[in-house]
Symmetry: C2
Subunit: 226 residues, 2 copies
């Protein structure tokens, strides 16, 4: 019948649910850097005991999404200019290196996939479907990331950081010019990959992310003014 009838009961530990809950709340901005997080209060809110909550908190701390308060409790890490800058710069380094590795082992099909993602994003942009632009751009990056997934540490770092900058990226991509700039960047990346030039790949990716950084910083500034 079904090729795989095993449905894999997929038990989700409370700890994980608490973690995801908090994470999305933070990344979406629903949880601002203003409010203090305490184990007990969160436990009550989520309707669970402190144990899983505290484990979720520790994990978030390890990822840098929240930080311990001197006065006990945590706050979500601010998106101060400095922090956003550092985040993007680290991404530039890590993803630049990743692209270097990728360039050495990507296949013809891989290149084709990437090309498709760009085309779809471009088409979406021209049709003014910004949601889809975002989607295909994300696919583009995700596909790249998968290509380094045997470098476990590198992969984990990249994925972590990427999640953290998500909120900034979303804003950037909402402007037409921003989106077009991003797409141009992706084209350049693809070209560098096609040329199989590791040096160029690293450089291109760094520049691509540097642009994203500047967009994000502008946005940040804008919010400040608004």
């Amino acid at each position: 019948m079904a090729v795989h009838s095993r449905v894999e009961k997929q038990i989700v530990p409370v700890r994980k649910k608490a973690y995801e809950h908090l994470k999305t709340a933070i990344l979406s901005g629903r949880l601002s850097p203003k409010e203090r997080l305490t184990e007990e209060h969160l436990a009550e809110t989520l309707g669970v005991s402190r144990t899983p909550v505290r484990e979720a908190l520790y994990k978030l701390e390890a990822e840098g999404l929240i930080r311990p308060l001197k006065t006990r409790g945590f706050i979500v890490s601010g998106d101060s200019k400095e922090e956003v800058k550092e985040l993007f710069e680290l991404r530039a380094i890590l993803e630049g290196y990743a692209l270097r590795i990728i360039s050495e082992k990507i296949t013809r099909e891989g290149l084709q996939h990437l090309g498709t993602f760009i085309d779809k994003a471009q088409a979406a942009l021209e049709a003014n479907r910004m949601g889809d632009v975002f989607k295909w751009n994300t696919r583009f990056h995700d596909y790249l990331h998968e290509l380094v997934s045997d470098s476990i540490r590198l992969y984990r770092l990249i994925v972590d950081m990427r999640k953290q900058v998500l909120r900034h990226r979303k804003v950037t991509l909402q402007s037409i010019e921003g989106a077009q700039r991003t797409l141009d960047g992706h084209q350049k990346i693809l070209l560098a990959l096609r040329l199989k030039d590791p040096e160029l790949c690293e450089k291109t990716m760094r520049e691509h992310i540097k642009l994203a950084k500047e967009d994000a910083l502008l946005t940040l500034l804008g919010e400040h003014i608004a």
Copy 2:
């Protein structure tokens, strides 16, 4: 009376003790990748309850020092050739970038300090006091790391990784040639810093760590044969 009679009670949470205990056991090789770690067993061994142990385990996992076993429990991450390679390569990237940053803001005194560390290490090497060579080399790197300490994320990543490669480095430095090569590398780094050439700094550091990587891999191979 005493200038500072405050002794700072310095309470050390059990969790932290468990964490440190396990960490040193792992880094020193006392805990091999062979044995399985379970919460209960560890708790019993350390004479504490499972709660702090489990928190220590999660932290170690986040740092990549142990990994969950499919069959429940953890094992310490192997030092397979692939893993060591990746570790050093990541270090090369991150510390290379760090040196680039440092080159932009290091002061005259900073350069002098670094020079001193190298001299001391060189002297120790010539007197065949390998322990001291290790010590001064460590100082050299530690000092560099402190210079990036306002880039919190970068700093944390570097420190983490550095701890993980410690066991490999120790072996390398025991050989005279290995130590001399390391020192030469440090000289080059210092030179690059003096020239205030970010590009060169990054490149030099990468190469320095690449050499260390090759040493470590050789050692690893040797152990395999032995």
